[in-house]
C-alpha cells in the first residue's frame, strides 16, 4: 500500500503552485524559454507520453537552480530539464559549443601562446570574426589566459612543503584556477598551510559543468566517472576531503553527477566541499584559529553565486569574511548575474544575459564597494566586465586579510 501518493518520479510532487516561475531569471527576459514549470514537471509528463513533446528551447535554461531553491515541493526542476535534454535533444553541439564546453582543452591550447591569444581575443577585428563565425558575442570580454598555470607553480614552489603537514586536504583547483586565475590556487595553499593543512593535488579533470550545459553528455559523463573514481581513492582510501574553490565545481561534482549524469557518487559526495565551508567548520568547532591583520580595511559586497545558493553554503563565506575586523560587508540581493558558465558567451544569449544581471549590476554600482566577493569565476567575469568592479574569490580575500604567520602560530603549525 503506498504511503505518500507520491512518485519516485520526482516531478509528480509538483502541485502546480507556479512559485518557480516567479524566481526564474530567464523567463523574466526571454520569451522563447518555456519557463521552469512547463519545461520541467509539466513537460516531463507530456514527454513520457510522446517524445515529440520535447522542446529544443529547453536549451535556454541556464541551470541556475533558482527554481529548485524556491520550489516548496522539492521538485528537482532543473535536473528534469537537463535530463530531458540529455535523453531527447536531437541538436548536435556545434564547434562553438564544443569549444566553450571544453574549458580545460581550450586552456591547454591557449596557454603556450597566452599573450597572443589574450590580445587576439580582445582585439576588435577578431571579436567581430568570432561574432560572425562562432556566434560568440563581440561585446563579451574574454577572461585572460595565464602562461604559467597553477599546477606548474604548485609543483615548483609548494609541493615539497606539503609533506610536512600531518593533516591534509585534496584540492580540486578547477579549470579557471589552472588557466586564468592561478592566484586563487596560490591563496588556497597559503591559507590551508597557515591553518595547518597540507594540500594534495590529484589527477583531476574538468568538473564538466560546461559540457552539461552545452549538451556534450558523453564527455561530461566520462569526466564525472573519472573524477569520482579519483576522489574515491583519496576519500575512502585516505579519508581526505576534496576541497574546491569554485562553488560551481563543487556543486556539479556533488549533485549534477548523480542527478543529471547518472553517475553514482554517493560514497564521496559528502566529502566534496568548498574552501569556505571547510574552514568555517574548523573554526566553528575550535579546531582552527584565524588571526587577522590589524590594518586590513575593505568595503566588500558579497554576491552569492546561484550554485552556492543551491548548495546553501553562502553563509560560510558571509561568516568568514564577516570575521575580518576591518571589513564592512554588504550582502547583495539574491540575483543571478546572467552568466551561468558559458551561457553568456553565446551570441543568442548575450542580450538576455546582460538583462538578467542588470539588477545586480545596478546594486553593485550604487553601493560602490572596494570590490565584490564571489566564489564563482564566471560570475567574476560577468560582473567585472559589466560593472568594472573587481571580483575576488573569498579565499583570496582571506589570504590577504589573514596574518598568515600569526595564524600559523595560533594553529601550532611552526
Amino acid at each position: 500500500m503506498q504511503e505518500k501518493n507520491l512518485s519516485f518520479n520526482n516531478f509528480e510532487q509538483c502541485i502546480k503552485c507556479t512559485i518557480c516561475t516567479a524566481y526564474c531569471p530567464v523567463v523574466a527576459v526571454n520569451p522563447l524559454y518555456p519557463g521552469p514549470k512547463q519545461a520541467g514537471p509539466d513537460g516531463e509528463r507530456l514527454r513520457l507520453k510522446n517524445k515529440f513533446f520535447f522542446d529544443e528551447n529547453l536549451k535556454y535554461c541556464m541551470n541556475c537552480k533558482r527554481c529548485e531553491v524556491a520550489c516548496p515541493s522539492g521538485v528537482k526542476i532543473a535536473d528534469l530539464i537537463h535530463s530531458a535534454r540529455r535523453r531527447f535533444s536531437r541538436n548536435i553541439p556545434d564547434l562553438r559549443d564544443r569549444l566553450l564546453a571544453n574549458t580545460d582543452l581550450l586552456g591547454k591550447v591557449a596557454r603556450p601562446v597566452a599573450p597572443v591569444v589574450n590580445s587576439i581575443v580582445s582585439s576588435k577585428p577578431v571579436k567581430a570574426v568570432m561574432d560572425v563565425m562562432m556566434d560568440i558575442d563581440k561585446a563579451r570580454a574574454f577572461p585572460k589566459y595565464q602562461r604559467k598555470g597553477f599546477v606548474r607553480w604548485f609543483k615548483k614552489e609548494a609541493a615539497d612543503n606539503q609533506e610536512a603537514y600531518s593533516k591534509k586536504v585534496v584540492f580540486f583547483h578547477g579549470c579557471s584556477t589552472e588557466f586564468q586565475h592561478p592566484e586563487v590556487g596560490k591563496a588556497f595553499v597559503r591559507v590551508m598551510n597557515a591553518i595547518g593543512f597540507g594540500v594534495k593535488l590529484v589527477d583531476e579533470e574538468c568538473c564538466g559543468v560546461a559540457m552539461i550545459s552545452n549538451g556534450l553528455w558523453n564527455q561530461a559523463r566520462r569526466h564525472a566517472e573519472h573524477n569520482t573514481r579519483v576522489f574515491r581513492e583519496v576519500v575512502t582510501g585516505e579519508g581526505l576531503p576534496v576541497v574546491a574553490v569554485s562553488s560551481t565545481c563543487a556543486f556539479t561534482m556533488r549533485d549534477e553527477y548523480p542527478d543529471v549524469l547518472d553517475v553514482d557518487n554517493s560514497d564521496v559526495r559528502d566529502s566534496i566541499t568548498l574552501a569556505e565551508k571547510f574552514i568555517f567548520e574548523k573554526v566553528d568547532s575550535g579546531e582552527v584559529r584565524l588571526a587577522f591583520k590589524d590594518d586590513y580595511r575593505a568595503r566588500i559586497a558579497y554576491h552569492c553565486p546561484c550554485h552556492n545558493e543551491k548548495l546553501g553554503w553562502g553563509i560560510f563565506t558571509k561568516a568568514l569574511v564577516g570575521m575580518i575586523p576591518g571589513v564592512s560587508l554588504t550582502i547583495l540581493d539574491s540575483h543571478c548575474c546572467g552568466m551561468a558558465g558559458t551561457y553568456g558567451f553565446k551570441k543568442e544569449n548575450y542580450k538576455y544575459s546582460q538583462e538578467i544581471g542588470r539588477p545586480l549590476f545596478e546594486q553593485i554600482r550604487s553601493l560602490s564597494p572596494d570590490f565584490v566577493c564571489c566564489e564563482c569565476e564566471t560570475c567574476k567575469w560577468q560582473i567585472e566586465m559589466s560593472t568594472g568592479y573587481m571580483v575576488l574569490n573569498p579565499i583570496v580575500i582571506l589570504a590577504e586579510a589573514l596574518d598568515l604567520e600569526a595564524t600559523a602560530v595560533a594553529n601550532s603549525v611552526r
Binding site: T18, A22, P31, L32, A70, P72, E281, D284, G312, I331
Partner: protein, 423 residues
Amino acid sequence: MRSDTIIIGGGLSSLVCGIKLQKAGQRCLIVSAGQNALHFSSGAFGLLGKLPDGTAVKEPMRSLSFLPEEHPYSKIGVDKMAGYVSETPAFFESCGVRLHSAPIAGEGGFPANGYRLTPLGSLKPAWLAMEDVTLLQSKDNIPWSKALIVNFFGFLDFNSGFIAEGLSRRGVDCRVETVSIGDVENLRKNPTEMRSVGIARVMGKENNWKEFGSKVRKLSAGEDLVILPEVFGLGDPVIIQWLREMIPAEVMFVGTMPPSVPGIRTQMRLKKAFEVAGGTFLSGDTAVNPTVEDGYVTSIHTTNLGSISLDADNYVLASGHLFGKGLESTPSKVVEPVFGLDTDFPSDRKTWCDEDFFARQAYDGYGVVCDGSFRPFIGGKSVRNLFVIGSEVGGCDSLYEGSGAGVAIMTAMSVAGNILSGK
C-alpha cells in the same frame, strides 16, 4: 553553529517571530524549505471571519469568547490578543509592509472586518489589507455606481467578466476594457508564462507603468471606480500610489490567480527586514535529524549543511500545514515529519474529507497538539524548548474561519514573547 533561536519554516509566522526576536537582540536562524503560502496570499489578512458554528463575524475581538478552548486564540487569551492585534500594523510598517484595516473600527477601537473584492466578484471578510487592496465597509453597500475594469490583453489569470458580474449583482454599472503595451505583448509570446509576476516585472519599468497609467486614465473618464489586476509594485509599491494619484477615479486592485504579487512583495520585505536586523535565512534547505534529550531539543541538522550541527536555546516550528509540508499525510496517519510531534487526527481516512469541495474539510483542522504556550508533545511528553506556530498548530479550521494569517501572526507574536520573557 550556534543561534539563540532556530526557526524551521520561512513564511509569515516564521518571519514575524524571527524579526521580533532578532530586533530584541537574539540571533536567529531560519531554515526555509522552499517558498511559502504568502505567495498565494489574497492580498489581505484574516483574523476571524466565521465562528466554528458558521456564524459570520463582524468584530473579531468581540467574538473570541465564542471560540473553543483548544483554539490558538483561546490559548493566547483575550488580553494578549488585544495587545498583539493593536501592535500588528505598526510592526509590519517597521518591516516596510503597509497594512490598513477597514475604514471604520469596531467597538473599543478594535478592528472590524472589512470586505475584500475577490477575483470572482465575491466579498470576503478581512482584517488587514496590503497596499493594493481596498477594504469595503460593508457587504451590501458599494459606494460607487460606475466601474471600469481593465485587464491586460490576453491575461487569463484575471477575469474581468466575473468581477463585473459580482459588482453588477450589487448594483454597480460595469464596463470592461483591455489594454496592451509593448513589453507585455512581448511577454505574451510565451504562451505559458503570461502570469501575474511576469507582468509585474514588466510593469516595474517606469516607461511601462507610465504608459499603462496614461492609457487607463484616458479610458476612465466619467468612471467612479477603476479596477485593475494586482500586478503592480512587485519591488516597489510606489507604482500603486502613482496609479492611484494619476487616475481620476477610485482605483481598486483585485487579485489574480497565483502567484500573488502583493504576497510575494510582502514576503520579500519581511525577509529583508529579518536579514537587515541581522538574522540568517537559509533558503531551499530542509531541517532534518533533530536531537531531543530529556524533553529538550539540543540540535538539528539540515540537508545542505550536512554534518554541521545547528544548536540553539529555543526552536520554533513554523513549517506550515499540508501545503508547506509541516504536516504530511499517509493513508492512515497525519504526521509532523521533522520531530515526529504528536498530531491530532482520526485514523479513519474516510472522515478526513467532506465530499463537497466547498464544505468545511475536517483535515484542515488537524495539526500539532500543543500546550497553552504552544509547546508540542512527543509520545505524550512535553518538549520544553520547542514551540509551534502558524498553520501547523492544531485546534482551528483556519480556511473555514478565515483566520489563517491571524493565527500565523498571533501565535508568532505570542511565542516570541514567551521566548523573550524566558517562560
